[in-house]
């Protein structure tokens, strides 16, 4: 089916049919228009024929008269009665000078035309044959009065028109026209409708071929569109001029040279064919999407564009390969050179203010635009750097809008950010894994340790005769307890150092905290022979901290003091608040000489005595420091001779802020705590320090 509907022959037939339909319809329309205008659409055939033939007779009249007066033979050579339907008689001043009638009367019926006028209206005197002149002169008048010769021309067409000449052709045409006259409207409508239908088919089928899905270009379609257009236009112009020339000839001959009708019609048909062909080709190109691409202009421009782009890329590469400083220098040099050249030109032009103003305006605008662009780029890169500096590692510089070296800088910043983010993430991951490992291992150790502790305890309960054995059991018992403590500290330290602890900061009154801690340690301090001395301001000092973790810090520090202090000395616990900072200081005298500095002591598993024979894991200070830092504080350790001094510094908060924070987090506690406060103590910033010596024994 497709093969049939899209085949070449089908298309060709449709094309020809379409042309013919168009031509017929157009001709019919032209006929209708002309006849409508001339009012000949409805007059009877006889009159139309007579009118038309009369006009033709009038057209040949000149010819007949000229022939008659110019030669001896007269017009009978052209209009011989043996092969022409025309019968004529030319009279000059009553003398019949030429005729093709055998007798002097017109015989039969037919269309006739008689014309009377001066001879000079029909032909110029110069053309008049001397023989005729003399004939006329002899008869009546001198030659000088040739213009006064009266001419009478009788023309007659013999019916039926038996000889094939122009009259018969016209006659046939008129008969034909009259035959189709009633159907002209139908021809116009039908012709155009058929043409439209065929056009639709042709435009649809353009470029399609049987057996191929895609639009296929034929040889003509491969010609560049503009060349094709020019060719078609040239052809059309040529054909149109041919057509016009033919019609011109026809009309010059007064409609006698009917042979010109053939070239005229054919060329008109060819114009139609070329135009239709062009549009069908254009349709194929549009369908294929190559209307503009397949043009010579497009090709030239794309070639030019490619060349320009290559040049630009080359220039860019060249510029990029110049070092940054040299590039800047080059740019500045170019600007100076332009200025210099402009100034020289201006001097030669005798300072045209208008041009100068324009130049400086353009230059200033360009300069401002460049400075703004540089500033914006710089800001983007700067912002990226600041993001990195402030720890926002996921922030990225949008390099799409940056230019030149700023783009490179932005990309560098981005890759630094990426690298840092990756490093931080890996670090965190490894820390987390370490903590998990320590926690898991510790948990696994706990189970066997439970058995050891339990069975050692059972052994202690058994009656042992052997004192040595009992001593050994004691050692195992003590070491098991130590192992237990060590494990707990290890888990705590790993959690605290990696921040795996959950911290919920609440307002914490340091005065109370110190009293509570000192109270908890009263017996242990007394056992270690230490006298605690508490110094704190009368009004409460608040910090934001997690009480449980802070208690652990105090616990570790006091435990340390108990373990390592010289008996019989004092332990000073001092709380001070200065300039928004609350500082708690622990001061005690070391029993052993400390041959190490403070920072080293805070490292994990470092102990001042180096002998490692006393209890403790060596993690206490490390845990304390981690916990303090997790809560936003700082821990400082100073060893000055035997003086061992630990300072904890936290940002303090005002009593009002503390009350508010407490109200928000735990309203039920707030009333209980703050109802007991003396309002006067908050209002008056008294700095009298209360000093309490804890005897370390029960007050009872």
């Amino acid at each position: 089916m497709k093969k049939l509907t899209l085949g070449f022959l089908t298309k060709l037939t449709a094309f020809v049919l379409c042309l013919l339909c168009l031509a017929a319809a157009t001709a019919a329309a032209a006929g209708l228009l002309i006849m409508g205008e001339a009012g000949t659409l409805h007059i009877p055939e006889k009159h139309l024929r007579e009118n038309t033939l009369s006009q033709y007779l009038y057209s040949v009249m000149d010819d007949v008269v000229q022939l008659a007066v110019q030669s001896e033979d007269g017009a009978s050579a052209r209009y011989n009665a043996d092969y022409s339907n025309l019968r004529y008689t030319v009279e000059l001043d009553g003398y019949i000078i030429d005729t093709n009638l055998s007798d002097e009367h017109f015989a039969g019926t037919g269309v006739s035309l008689s014309w009377k006028c001066k001879l000079t209206e029909l032909c110029k005197p110069a053309y008049i044959d001397p023989g005729i002149q003399s004939l006329v002169a002899q008869s009546r008048q001198p030659v000088s009065s040739l213009r006064n010769i009266n001419a009478v021309v009788h023309l007659h067409l013999v019916e039926p028109l038996s000889f094939p000449d122009v009259f018969r052709t016209v006659d046939t045409g008129i008969r034909l026209l009259c035959a189709v006259r009633p159907y002209l409207g139908w021809i116009v409508a039908g012709g155009y409708l058929a043409a439209i239908g065929l056009l639709v088919y042709l435009f649809h089928a353009a470029g399609r071929r049987p057996g191929r899905e895609e639009i296929t270009l034929n040889l003509l379609d491969r010609i560049p569109a503009d060349v094709y257009l020019a060719g078609c236009a040239g052809l059309v112009v040529l054909l149109l001029s041919l057509c016009i020339a033919s019609i011109d000839r026809l009309s010059h001959s007064g409609g006698l040279a009917l042979g010109w009708l053939i070239p005229a019609g054919l060329s008109a048909l060819a114009v139609l064919a070329v135009t239709l062909g062009f549009f069908l080709g254009a349709a194929t190109r549009i369908k294929r999407g190559v209307l503009f691409k397949n043009t010579l202009i497009w090709r030239i421009f794309s070639l030019l564009g490619r060349g320009l782009r290559a040049c630009w890329r080359g220039v860019c590469f060249l510029v990029r390969s110049i070092p940054f400083i040299w590039r800047t220098a080059l740019l500045l040099g170019l600007i100076l050179l332009t200025d210099f050249a402009f100034t020289v030109i201006m001097i030669n032009l005798r300072h045209n203010e208008g041009i100068e103003l324009c130049y400086w305006a353009i230059k200033s605008l360009l300069f401002i635009a460049a400075v703004i662009a540089v500033a914006m780029n710089l800001r983007a890169v700067r912002q990226g750097c600041r993001d990195l500096a402030e720890g926002r590692l996921d922030a990225r510089v949008d390099t799409r809008r940056l230019i030149g070296d700023f783009k490179a800088a932005g990309e560098d910043v981005n890759s630094i950010g990426k690298g840092m983010a990756k490093a931080v993430e890996e670090r965190l991951k490894s820390e987390r894994m370490k903590t998990e490992l320590i926690t898991n291992v510790s948990h696994d150790i706990k189970t066997p340790l439970t058995s050891i502790i339990n069975y050692v305890d059972l052994m202690k309960k058994e009656p042992l005769e052997n004192d040595t054995l009992r001593g050994y059991v004691e050692v195992v018992d003590r070491q098991a307890a130590r192992l237990k403590k060590l494990l707990e500290d290890l888990i705590e330290a790993s959690k605290a150092s990696t921040g795996a602890l959950s911290i919920s900061p609440e307002p914490c009154e340091l005065n109370v905290m110190l009293q509570q801690s000192a109270g908890e340690y009263a017996e242990k301090l007394a056992a270690a022979g230490l006298t605690p001395v508490l110094e704190h301001p009368q009004q409460p000092v608040y910090i934001m901290a997690d009480g449980r973790h802070l208690a652990r810090v105090f616990d570790n520090l006091l435990g340390n003091a108990c373990k390592y202090s010289q008996p019989g000395t004092r332990l000073y616990l001092t709380l001070k608040e200065t300039g928004g900072k609350a500082a708690v200081t622990f001061r005690n005298i070391s029993r052993e000489a400390l041959h190490t500095d403070g920072d080293e002591l805070m490292e994990r598993f470092v102990r001042g005595d180096r002998s490692r024979h006393t209890e403790g894991s060596g993690l206490g200070l490390s845990i304390a420091r981690s916990l303090v830092e997790l809560q936003g504080g700082a821990m400082k350790l100073v060893v000055d001779g035997d003086l061992f001094k630990v300072t904890l510094v936290f940002p303090s908060v005002s009593a009002a802020a503390a009350a508010q924070a407490l109200q928000e987090s735990a309203p039920e506690y707030a009333d209980a705590v703050f109802s007991s406060l003396d309002p006067a103590a908050i209002a008056a910033p008294e700095t009298t320090e209360a000093e309490t010596v804890c005897a370390g024994t029960d007050a009872n």
Binding site: K446, G519, R548, D698, A699, N700
Partner: protein, 233 residues
């Protein structure tokens, strides 16, 4: 005689606990995992369960959740996990107490004793006469000036008694040292609050099984002290 079920996958720990509990006069049963424990519970009369958390087949948490649907007996969790969140989870699911590994056998015995006493004796003490305060296993009779813990009398100094009475009256509240001082000593607390901490500590040693991890008398660090109202009401 009370029957105690010990559920732990570590045989050594089970047998050690058995020795301690038997020496105290308890009958003991054992199970190696949660499923076995549920079986034993179904076929025996058990008064208390010591339940390990990390066990094969069925762990302690799941076992606890299942047995709570059928049985009402005190459960003490034995756990190697010492994180607070694990403890809270265990207590929320229905454990009565917990002991973290590595544990002190004496502590386990004390907790067992405490739970059994409360379970058997204090179940009925609902309505208390005026002047008698009860918080958890602690009962303070202000008329007779006596304090009992899980039914056993405790000897307190007058100051400790006054502090405990104040805290039991206002159980659940955080009391600052200054407030306690004002109330007990009837005096302005200038600088003398530190002594409160010492008294509280002594008090805690008397009423708590593990003073380092108190059940009742809690230190609210940086604020004061609070007597915890019993979780079980």
């Amino acid at each position: 005689m009370y029957t105690i079920l010990i559920c732990d996958d570590e045989p050594d720990i089970v047998s050690a606990l058995k020795i301690y509990l038997n020496s105290e006069g308890y009958r003991t049963l054992s199970a190696a995992n949660g499923r076995e424990a549920l079986e034993v519970l179904a076929h025996n009369e058990v008064h208390l369960l010591l339940l390990d958390v990390m066990m094969p087949v069925m762990d302690g948490i799941e076992t606890l959740a299942r047995l709570r649907k059928e049985f009402n007996l005190p459960v003490i969790m034995l756990t190697a996990k010492s994180e607070d969140s694990d403890k809270v989870l265990g207590l929320n699911i229905g454990a009565d107490d917990y002991v973290t590994k590595p544990f002190n056998p004496l502590e386990v015995l004390a907790r067992v004793r405490s739970q059994l006493r409360r379970y058997t004796q204090l179940g009925s003490s609902v309505s208390a006469p005026t002047g008698v305060y009860t918080v958890g296993g602690i009962t303070l009779d202000d008329r007779q000036k006596t304090v009992t813990l899980d039914g056993e009398p405790i000897a307190l100094t007058p100051t400790e008694y006054d502090i405990l009475r104040l805290m039991m009256r206002r159980a659940g509240e955080v009391l600052s040292p200054a407030e306690i001082y004002k109330s007990v000593w009837k005096d302005a607390p200038f600088g003398a609050e530190s002594t409160i901490a010492v008294h509280i500590r002594h008090l805690r040693e008397k009423i708590e099984i593990d003073p380092a991890e108190p059940r009742y008398l809690k230190v609210v660090w940086g604020k004061g002290y609070r007597l915890e109202t019993d979780r079980k009401g």
